[in-house]
């Protein structure tokens, strides 16, 4: 039961974060690239002021999977690194926290670029 509740929480929180972005796309002149930049920066800022952490505890992957969660990982990484290493941590922490995602995206994108070719849209 607890498992399904956690799925439901993730579904609702994650879906809602997507809906906000969809409204921005449809109702403003913002391009998707600007919305993603806004989301990742907002993720860092919300984590910094202590608002995003509780959402992650509540919704789990519903909060970490949207791009705000990428900002959350950056901010958490920085916080941890500054605690451990001081000022230099401000530079190393962010990318350390998100290293897995960035390296995975780069690696898989490269491999699939070797295998596949672009398709004309239907």
């Amino acid at each position: 039961m607890a498992f399904f509740i956690s799925l439901l929480k993730a579904f609702i929180v994650g879906g809602s974060l997507c809906v906000f972005a969809q409204i921005l796309i449809d109702k403003t002149a913002m391009t998707p690239a600007r919305i993603l930049v806004l989301y990742v920066s907002l993720g860092v800022a919300l984590t910094a002021i202590g608002l995003y952490g509780p959402l992650v505890s509540f919704a789990g992957c519903g909060a970490t999977t949207p791009l705000l969660g990428f900002g959350y990982s950056l901010a958490e990484g920085v916080k941890k690194a500054v605690d451990e290493r001081g000022l230099i941590g401000a530079l190393t922490g962010g990318l350390t926290g998100t290293a897995g995602g960035i390296a995975a995206a780069t690696f898989f994108a490269y491999i699939f670029a070797l295998i596949f070719r672009g398709h004309p849209k239907k």
């Binding site: 609702i12 879906g15 997507c18 809906v19 969809q22 690239a33 999977t65 898989f108 070797l114």
Partner: protein, 148 residues
Amino acid sequence: MNLDTNEYGKFVRARAPKSPVLKNCLCAFLVGGGICAFAEALFHGYLALHITEENVKTLVPVTLIFLAALLTGFGVFDDVAKIAGAGTLVPITGFANAVASPAIDNKSEGLVLGVGAQMFTVAGPVIVYGVLTSVIYGFIYWIWGIAV
């Protein structure tokens, strides 16, 4: 109506068909929520395999990135995204697609100047602004630690 620039712009905007916001939002909610619920299920699944929570936190987004990049390669991702909109854009899947699609597309310009140089033309700003804000946050956090 004479074709005055301001007036024409208003005329064009007023008559242009609008995006079906409600339908788009519903699709974004269902697909975006579905991806996040799937991620949550993965999370529990990996934990059940006795992988440490620290590693699971990395493994879940990596799995999503792998799947999104694979679907991009098969030419399926954009067909889903056309309907899902922000539902596939906002989760980490959108980031993976933004990295994989220019990589695949620019293979014709070579592995270094095509795939290598063009891979982050779409997703680059996310990393740039993410790193930028995180460094600023780290600096403020450090100052705060000294001051308090």
